[in-house]
């Protein structure tokens, strides 16, 4: 399998504390990289740095694709949906922004179990339902690399199972996933890497 991403000697210092130093890894197609660490270890910082949202103090992140932004789905702690818009509108607009103009939002909503709720403003949906709206992105996107920060937050066990099933499909099709989760995976990926950030030792 070919390499998607090479990360070399990343250093992050935040407010005077060293979160991680000399962190390197490579990511192949089909890989799942599970980043672990206690609260405040620096997992989110690392993910955000990988997608270019945060500047680190050192190191390089190298994508083996010219137009790397199109190769990427990032989902952070915040869902990134608009509370004022309905689920349907949110999905449609999100897909268009991501560059997929011809998705079928109804199909997507059905997949994540939101059928029948498509006309409510997202702000009135339950926490898990709001996350599900954002997660629809994983069903239409063709990007090989998913960078997901705590994707299981607020999901019920059915939701988690559904998502892991999608993960399995994605990696089987050659996609790669970098994720954090305080809940352990119930699914065993073929190519699982674990990376533990020990934010404690200063």
């Amino acid at each position: 399998m070919s390499t998607l991403l090479t990360v070399k000697q990343l250093v992050s210092q935040r407010a005077g504390r060293t979160l991680f130093a000399d962190l390197s890894f490579t990511l192949q197609h089909g890989d799942v990289l599970h980043i672990e660490g206690v609260n405040g270890a620096g997992k989110s910082t690392l993910l955000r740095a990988l997608v270019g949202l945060v500047q680190l103090q050192g190191g390089t992140v190298e994508y083996h694709h010219d137009d790397w932004r199109t190769q990427l789905v990032f989902m952070g702690h915040k869902a990134g949906i608009k509370a004022e818009l309905t689920a349907l509108e949110n999905v449609t607009l999100q897909a268009r922004l991501d560059g997929y103009a011809d998705v079928d939002p109804w199909q997507l909503l059905a997949t994540v179990g939101l059928l029948g709720l498509e006309d409510l403003p997202a702000g009135q949906l339950s926490a898990g339902q709001q996350r599900r709206i954002a997660l629809t992105r994983l069903w239409y996107s063709a990007a090989p690399l998913w960078v997901l920060d705590e994707p299981f937050t607020a999901l019920d066990s059915d939701g988690i199972a559904l998502l892991q099933q999608r993960f399995a499909e994605h990696t089987a099709a050659g996609g790669a996933i970098i994720m954090t989760s305080h809940q352990s995976l119930t699914w065993q990926p073929d190519q699982l890497q674990r990376l533990r950030i020990s934010g404690d030792d200063e």
Partner: protein, 227 residues
């Protein structure tokens, strides 16, 4: 991503923002009411003499324009920042400056356009002599986009701070002043009968220049704020 889909992204950002605002109807009408209140306040304050009113009319209308631009500014990025939409925009495969331009357009539609539409009513209320109406309209059309562009820069710079409008206005008002002076100068010229077109042309030029450069500044500012 092709050129065409970048255009889709532009229009999607615009549509989304407009839809959000339309859901909260007061957001649309508040600026309009504000402008009307400002404009109707002055006849009350100075008494109904047409001579004075006419002389201050341009100034008042333009100040109203500045202030209504400010009023709409907080909303421009704050909610996007808080709900995570802003970071998604930053990660979009389309150039961020293009999406920033969409934001500028939305801001103009919500604060500049109402003023352009209301300009005749304002001119009437303030008894601006009719020979200056066209010039006033021209300066508004040429000038309000600058307002929106600069406001967007300021809003993007302050979005992560949560300090409220005072700081933002502090940054923006000095930058607005040349605009104010050029625009009121043009109308003044029309009033005394000299040619107003040089100023209007100048404003148009400035406007184009600002619209060309501002998206990049906004994009840079967003990246700083998201960090």
């Amino acid at each position: 991503m092709t050129q065409a889909s970048s255009w889709t992204a532009f229009s999607t950002v615009m549509r989304r923002d407009l839809m959000v605002v339309m859901r909260r109807r007061s957001d649309v009408l508040n600026p309009l009411l504000f402008i009307l209140m400002v404009v109707s306040l002055f006849p009350l304050a100075v008494g109904p003499g047409p001579d004075i009113l006419g002389r201050i009319a341009t100034g008042v209308i333009w100040v109203a324009a500045l202030l209504s631009a400010l009023l709409g500014s907080e909303r421009l990025f704050r909610d996007d920042f808080l709900d995570g939409t802003l970071e998604q925009l930053t990660l979009s495969p389309h150039p961020l400056s293009l999406l920033a331009a969409a934001k500028i357009v939305v801001h103009w539609l919500l604060s500049g356009l109402p003023l352009v539409i209301l300009a005749p009513i304002c001119a009437l209320l303030l008894k601006l002599p009719s020979e200056a109406w066209l010039t006033l309209l021209a300066t508004l059309v040429a000038g309000t986009p600058i307002l929106s562009a600069i406001t967007a820069i300021g809003a993007a710079l302050t979005v992560s701070l949560g300090r409220g409008g005072a700081l933002l206005s502090l940054l923006l008002l000095p930058l607005f002043i040349p605009l104010l002076i050029f625009a009121s100068g043009a109308v003044e010229a029309a009033l005394v009968g000299t040619a107003a077109w040089p100023q209007v042309l100048l404003l148009t030029g400035l406007s184009l220049l600002t619209l060309l450069l501002a998206p990049f500044a906004v994009a840079a500012a967003i990246r700083v704020s998201v960090n």
